[in-house]
C-alpha cells in the first residue's frame, strides 16, 4: 500500500473561509473564459451555484471579486477584479509552496520521516532504563557491540521498548565523527 500525506489549502478572512481548491478553480475558469456561464459549464456546476459561491466570498470580503458587463457587446462577460486576481494568485502561490514542500526531502527530514545518508543497523534491545523524562536504551547490534541511545521517556513508552525487542537503529551520517589515533611516536 502506498501511503502518502496530502495537504488541503484554503484562504480565510477573519476566520471565515473564502476559497479552497474549488473556489480557486472557479476563479481560474472565469479568468480563462471571461464568462461566468462558460466557467460554470467548464467545471460542471450550475450557474446559480457559481454565482452564489462568488456572492458569499464578496459578502465576506465586503468587496467585489468579479465584474460583469451589464449590456452592449460585452454583455454576459464576467472578469476578475484586481481583488479577485490577487485572491487567486495568493491561493496558487501558497498551494504551490506546500506542494513543493511535500516533494522536498529536507522537509521530511525536519519531521524525522526520511533521512538521506543515514546508517540503519538492526539490533536487539538489551537494557531499557527509564529515569524521569529521559530513557537510556542499550541495543546489541552485533555481539558484543552495543549502541547506546538516549531518548525521551515518552518515546520509549510510545515504542513500548523492552529487552528482547527487535529494533532498527538510525544514525544520521552527519552526526558521526571520525577519530583517528595519531601514530605513536617512537
Amino acid at each position: 500500500m502506498n501511503v502518502k500525506p496530502r495537504v488541503k489549502v484554503w484562504l480565510e478572512a477573519d476566520g471565515e473561509g473564502l476559497i479552497g481548491k474549488g473556489g480557486a478553480e472557479l476563479l481560474k475558469a472565469i479568468l480563462d473564459e471571461g464568462s461566468l456561464k462558460a466557467a460554470s459549464e467548464k467545471l460542471g456546476v450550475s450557474y446559480k451555484y457559481a454565482w452564489n459561491y462568488l456572492r458569499r466570498i464578496e459578502d465576506r470580503l465586503k468587496t467585489k471579486i468579479v465584474a460583469s458587463a451589464r449590456g452592449g457587446s460585452e454583455r454576459g462577460r464576467t472578469v476578475l477584479t484586481e481583488t479577485g486576481k490577487r485572491l487567486l494568485l495568493k491561493y496558487t502561490r501558497f498551494s504551490r509552496f506546500l506542494d513543493n514542500a511535500l516533494e522536498n526531502p529536507e522537509m521530511w527530514e525536519a519531521c524525522g520521516l526520511s533521512i538521506p545518508d543515514k546508517n540503519t543497523v538492526p539490533g536487539k534491545v538489551k537494557v531499557v532504563k527509564v529515569e524521569g523524562p529521559a530513557a537510556v536504551i542499550k541495543i546489541e547490534v552485533g555481539k558484543p557491540i552495543e549502541v547506546v541511545a538516549a531518548i525521551s521517556s515518552d518515546s520509549a513508552e510510545e515504542l513500548d521498548l523492552k529487552p528482547g525487542d527487535k529494533v532498527t537503529v538510525i544514525i544520521k551520517a552527519t552526526e558521526v565523527m571520525i577519530n583517528k589515533e595519531e601514530p605513536a611516536l617512537t
Binding site: 545518508d117 547506546v148 541511545a149 521498548l161 558521526v176 571520525i178 583517528k180
Partner: protein, 71 residues
C-alpha cells in the same frame, strides 16, 4: 583524550568519497557491516584520511533514533 560520546565503533576506512564540500567516509566495523560518516573536506584533510586507516566512528547517544520493527 577522553570523550563523552557513548558510541565508539572501531574499524577501518573502506572508502573516502568527496561529495561537494563534504566527504563521505565508509568505515568497516566488524560485526556491524559499515558505518557512514559525512564530514567536511577540511576535517578529512586534517586527519589525512585514506583507505585502510584505523579509525573510530563516534556518535552521541542522543543522536540515535530507534525504530521498532513491525511497529
Amino acid at each position: 583524550m577522553k570523550i563523552s560520546a557513548r558510541n565508539k565503533f572501531s574499524g577501518h576506512v573502506l572508502r573516502v568519497e568527496r561529495e561537494g564540500v563534504l566527504v563521505k567516509v565508509l568505515v568497516a566495523v566488524e560485526r556491524v557491516d559499515e558505518v557512514t560518516a559525512l564530514i567536511t573536506c577540511e576535517a578529512a584533510r586534517e586527519l589525512e584520511l585514506k583507505e585502510g586507516d584505523d579509525v573510530e566512528a563516534v556518535f552521541k547517544a542522543t543522536e540515535v533514533i530507534i525504530l521498532k520493527d513491525g511497529g
